[in-house]
């Protein structure tokens, strides 16, 4: 028997003992010679690792909480052979080693991030339209009473929609009394034009271009994709972002990515060609907005923040103009006037700042 001293706590009281280890069968007994104290028999397999720090090693007992034995320095080899090995980084990582595990994790992490970015576009078309519609309806309701309605204004909007969206792909296209230069597509195929946009536009052709673009988002279900991406990312990142801010604000600020925007521009150009509306005005509209981007009004131009303007986009609309294309204005002068006056003329419409969202 070795005279190597262990320290020991029995887990019942805090009394510290200096003990010798006497082997017996598959395990051992701990004995304190000075006091004649002897502990209960312990199997080698009962031992758990508590820790090894600063040259001190400590072991516990799997069935007796607080039971500890330990030593400083190296244990005698005949005892060390029976002692369990401790965890370092965690059981799974120890099994592979730090660097292989880190490598595997890196690959998995990259796949997860890639999946979170790419999956929404694949999932969105699988969401039943009825769900999306119901979701959009519950989000929007009557938009806080902010939709502008006058008989002539409604007729003008219908006339515009009839040209850009003859197949009625969008479930609803409405005009809201909000003085921001913006237009949004909401879940459920709803497009909302803001009055600020109508006022800022100098011709109905410009509004037709924006409407065609939003129709592109409806056709490709970009809103659903964006929502799924936002939800998915917030889940992956442990809730970060999922709790922040308003949900509707989130939708308003959704950006769909460059490809989706380009595709939506393509839809706008197609629809305008079918309706014999010139894309030239949309191009100048972009140019005008772009020029003002740095001005004080830029803050109000929310459409710009989610639809970054690039010369490419402007040129694309400009290039789509066919000389002698037999274009006609998107709306008659009377209809255009009625549309522009719609929000101001509607006595029942809620003011933008009047009520909380």
């Amino acid at each position: 028997m070795s005279d190597f001293r262990f320290w020991h706590y029995d887990g019942v009281t805090a009394v510290r003992r200096g003990v010798l280890l006497r082997r017996s069968g598959d395990g051992f007994l701990l004995e304190e010679p000075e006091s004649g104290w002897t502990g209960a028999p312990v199997h080698w397999s009962d031992l758990t690792v508590i820790g090894a720090e600063g040259g001190r090693s400590a072991y516990g007992h799997s069935a007796i909480p607080g039971w500890r034995m330990g030593f400083s320095g190296e244990a005698p080899t005949e005892i060390a052979a029976h002692l369990p090995k401790g965890e370092r980084y965690g059981r799974w990582i120890d099994r592979f080693g730090l660097w292989p595990a880190a490598g595997v994790f890196t690959v998995v992490a990259a796949l997860v991030v890639w999946g979170a970015l790419e999956a929404p576009a694949a999932i969105a078309p699988l969401v039943p339209l009825a769900w999306e519609n119901r979701m959009g309806d519950s989000m929007v309701g009557d938009f806080g009473g902010r939709f502008c309605h006058t008989p002539t204004g409604d007729a003008a909007l219908r006339a515009l929609v009839e040209q850009i969206d003859p197949d009625h792909e969008a479930r609803e296209i409405a005009l809201a009394n909000i003085p921001m230069v913006n237009a949004v597509t909401l879940p459920g195929g709803r497009i909302i034009l803001f009055d600020g946009l109508i006022q800022q536009a100098s011709s109905p052709d410009e509004v037709a271009g924006v409407l065609g673009h939003e129709l592109g988002h409806v056709r490709h279900r970009d809103t659903m994709t964006g929502l799924i991406r936002q939800l998915g990312l917030s889940a992956v990142l442990g809730g970060a972002g999922g709790d922040a801010g308003g949900y509707l604000n989130g939708v308003l600020a959704l950006s769909y990515g460059r490809e989706a925007e380009a595709a939506a521009d393509g839809v706008a150009i197609d629809q305008m060609r079918r309706a014999s509306i010139s894309p030239a005005a949309t191009s100048t509209f972009f140019e005008r907005l772009g020029g003002k981007q740095e001005g004080a009004e830029a803050r109000a131009m929310t459409w710009l923040s989610s639809h970054p303007l690039s010369t490419d986009r402007r040129r694309r609309f400009a290039a789509a103009v066919r000389p002698g294309g037999g274009y006609r204005p998107a709306l008659s002068q009377a209809d255009w006037k009625a549309l522009r006056a719609s929000c101001a003329a509607d006595p029942k419409v809620a003011k933008f700042w009047g009520r909380p969202f």
Binding site: T13, A14, R16, E53, G54, G66, R68, M139, F143, F357
Partner: protein
């Protein structure tokens, strides 16, 4: 026998940052490649090191918590707080848009109160969790209280704290500290917390004095400057500089007062804490706290942020080196704790807390 007499040096920190560095860096690596999930195992490794290098009287502390427990705690927080929170967020938005602002307001209030309650319960349970995983001489701490009552106290005492222009805040903080600790135990002994908020009150009043002092100082400076009226340009610049200095002085002063108050509060709170024959003390003065935080800032900035992985180490070291205990403890009377232990860790709270108790 079995009696330990101790002076101020009851707690000794024996770690050093070079020995901790391998833990810190591998933790950082694994946390990054697992998209943050390893964080819980990283915390556990860090605590194992810090506890094992903190000696109380004659033996080191032991941390037996696991990464899995912390991970489970995190998942519980996600379900208990995150779930209802998201639901209310979504629901409230939809309700307001559909014109049920009253119901939405009620639900919103309910969600705020619920989350506030949960934060209180979480604070309590985090302390309980830490004590139940902290061992010394083979004995652990804990509490049989679930902390649900503490959550209620947390709500009403925090509310009372805001009354009378916040003059009740010191009382509210100290009363909650005492309530928390009075329900904790180590081995068979209950903690007794009798912290007095009175001595902290003078420093708390400085919060109210600062704006007045600044106003007087600012007025005097302004009056001294006015007679030498030169051209408008330099005068404008002077005024702007004055405003900037004023704002800086305000925030700097506020931060210093907060530090001074907290230093005093923590000393008073710990001084009021005892366990059987032991009285605890905390010796850090405002200057020490200031140096700690300036050191933190310098460390993080000089290492371009990487030094942040050493903050937990620094904070624990600060805590352990300024902690003291006087009195006596009988190890044969310090028997095993029979408090219940929960299977889950402290949820998100470990991210918010400065590390110590």
């Amino acid at each position: 026998m079995d009696q330990e007499r101790i002076g101020r040096e009851g707690f000794v920190f024996e770690g050093n940052w070079r020995a901790y560095a391998p833990i810190a860096f591998t933790n950082l690596l694994l946390t990054i490649v697992t998209l943050g999930i390893y964080r819980f195992w990283a915390t556990t490794r860090t605590r194992r090191y810090l506890w094992a290098n903190t000696r109380f009287i004659d033996d080191q502390l032991e941390w037996t918590g696991t990464g899995k427990e912390l991970f489970l705690g995190f998942l519980m927080v996600l379900v208990l707080i995150g779930g209802p929170f998201l639901f209310l967020q979504f629901g409230a938005q939809a309700l307001i848009l559909q014109g049920h602002a009253g119901i939405a307001g009620l639900l919103g209030l309910a969600s705020v109160v619920t989350i506030f309650y949960m934060v209180g319960v979480a604070r309590f349970r985090a302390l309980r969790y830490r004590l139940s995983r902290t061992w010394w001489h083979g004995i652990r701490g804990g509490s049989d209280n679930q902390g649900f009552g503490y959550g209620v106290s947390y709500i009403w005492k925090s509310f009372v704290g805001t009354l009378a222009a916040g003059l009740m805040i010191p009382w509210s903080l100290m009363s909650l500290w005492n309530e928390r600790w009075n329900k904790m135990s180590f081995g068979p002994h209950s903690f007794e917390a009798a912290g007095d908020h009175g001595p902290t009150f003078k420093r708390f009043l400085l919060f109210y004095l600062l704006p007045i002092l600044l106003l007087i100082g600012g007025t005097m400076v302004a009056m001294m400057r006015t007679p030498e009226a030169g051209s408008a340009g330099p005068q404008m610049a002077g005024a702007i500089l004055g405003v900037i200095a004023f704002v800086l002085a305000f925030y700097l002063g506020l931060g210093l007062i907060a530090l001074a108050f907290y230093a005093k509060f923590f000393r008073e709170a710990v001084d009021g804490l005892s366990l059987a024959g032991l009285n605890f003390h905390f010796y850090a003065r405002t200057k020490d706290w200031l140096l700690l935080f300036l050191g933190d800032i310098a460390l993080v900035i000089c290492t371009l942020g990487i030094g942040a992985i050493f903050l937990q180490y620094r904070h624990w070291k600060f805590f352990a080196t300024h902690m003291g205990a006087t009195g006596e403890i009988y190890t044969d009377e310090l028997t095993q704790s029979h408090t219940k232990t929960s299977r889950h860790g402290e949820g998100l709270l470990d991210a918010l807390d400065v590390g110590a108790f």
